[in-house]
Amino acid sequence: MLKTRIIPCLDVKNGRVVKGVNFINLVDAGDPVEAAQAYDEAGADELCFLDITASHENRSILLDVVKRTAEKCFMPLTVGGGVRTNEDIKMLLDSGADKVSINTSAITNPNFIKEASKAFGSQCIVVAIDAKSNNDGWQIYTHGGREPTGLDPINFAKEAELLGAGEILLTSMDRDGTKKGYDTELLNKITKKLKIPVIASGGVGNIDHIIDGIKEGGASAVLAASIFHFGEITIKEVKDKLFEKGLSVRK
């Protein structure tokens, strides 16, 4: 049986983990490679790096981090942040990323999803959607949540699937950082409509939220950052609880 994936996400800026990873005795908590290795040992099913480096010139630092991580961790690695062209994708894949997450560029230019999936295969193209609720539904925001687009995330997710996305990473901006749980209503609407897997993101505060994301939201994978980084919950605790609730997880 296919297992629900538990994915820790590390925000990386200029080659350093921001917000820190405090849960284990890391020599250097800011080193993404060391944090990745710790998550590898802790039983994470995949890993996600989100590059929040402001300038594009510092790309080589990220590529080096990806390369060094791929040398140590034999699990799927998704890298996102500032991916604008097929050349950006190629450099990340050549450095050892398995999947590349595209956010703003996919939304402002949906044809990029098609070009990218044609060039590299759907399996490595993740479309990241940041959504926020409004009066009568939800709206997609781009540029790190600053720019409203007027686009409906449910319809756009379907369009991304048809254009060749292999997976959707859905982040609820209303919930991100609140620890109130995933937006399971939006998740459910999207997972019901799509054939491709959806990763839930934004708002996890406890293990019950993860269970809700899977059971109510229909997520194929769950992504979380701070609860893992600060050691509030370990990956093993999550998996034990999920297993107890009858959900399939990799032991």
Partner: protein, 215 residues
């Protein structure tokens, strides 16, 4: 075994960085000396003791790329068929060994293991395609080498599967609503639908068994 040289065949179909690293780790854990080459050169393939045909992407494009590199397909076939060198196909690398593929268009394959590559079509329509993530691999028979990994989880990402014509070639199956062949074997040829190079400990253990394998 004193020295084992491994050639990972690079035909521009996907990331092989992790495959190289995983094979290097497996060699070192087995205390075997050897080199891991990422190559498309027939000379290197002729020197290697084990071959790996990796790959991600779409079947027709990957097969065209493999064919387009001068002398590559012929040198692999000579090593595998005339010299009996073990080869491991991974994901598309396994699928290319079929007679035919039906991804996007009908296209020919290497024809090494009888069967065709068809789309995964689970009866339960709520199941997601691609089949992406960790799933159990059940070995069909005790082969005294790979089969002690029975029941381990490996990492998959695919929308098509190898529909084998001969049950004898099915080494292992995996369940996604219905069982599909997840590892195939024929003489010195073995292939996995899953990615051992992405499957953490169980993956490295699988690669070690491939390196120790004496078909």
């Amino acid at each position: 075994m004193s020295n084992v040289d491994i050639a990972i065949i690079n035909y521009e179909c996907g990331n092989i960085h992790s495959a190289r690293k995983a094979f290097e780790l497996a060699l070192s854990e087995l205390n075997i000396s050897g080199n891991v080459y990422v190559t498309n050169e027939p000379e290197v393939i002729f020197k290697a003791d084990k071959l790996v045909l990796p790959g991600v992407g779409a079947f027709p494009e990957c097969f065209n790329k493999l064919k387009s590199i001068k002398g590559l397909r012929e040198s692999i076939a000579e090593r595998v068929y005339d010299n009996g060198i073990p080869i491991l196909g991974i994901c598309i690398g396994l699928q290319l060994m079929a007679d035919k593929g039906y991804e996007n268009i009908e296209s020919e394959g290497l024809g090494w293991i009888s069967g065709s590559v068809e789309n995964l079509c689970p009866d339960d329509k709520s199941l997601k395609i691609p089949h992406m993530g960790w799933n159990e691999v059940s070995f069909k028979k005790d082969d005294g080498n790979f089969s002690d990994l029975n029941g381990e989880d490996f990492y998959f990402v695919h929308s098509y599967y190898f529909n084998a014509n001969n049950n004898d070639n099915i080494l292992a199956t995996t369940n996604y609503n219905q069982p599909f062949p997840s590892a195939l074997i024929k003489n010195n040829i073995i292939g996995t639908q899953f990615h051992p190079e992405k499957s953490q400990r169980s993956g490295v253990e699988f690669i070690k068994r491939f390196l120790m394998w004496k078909p």
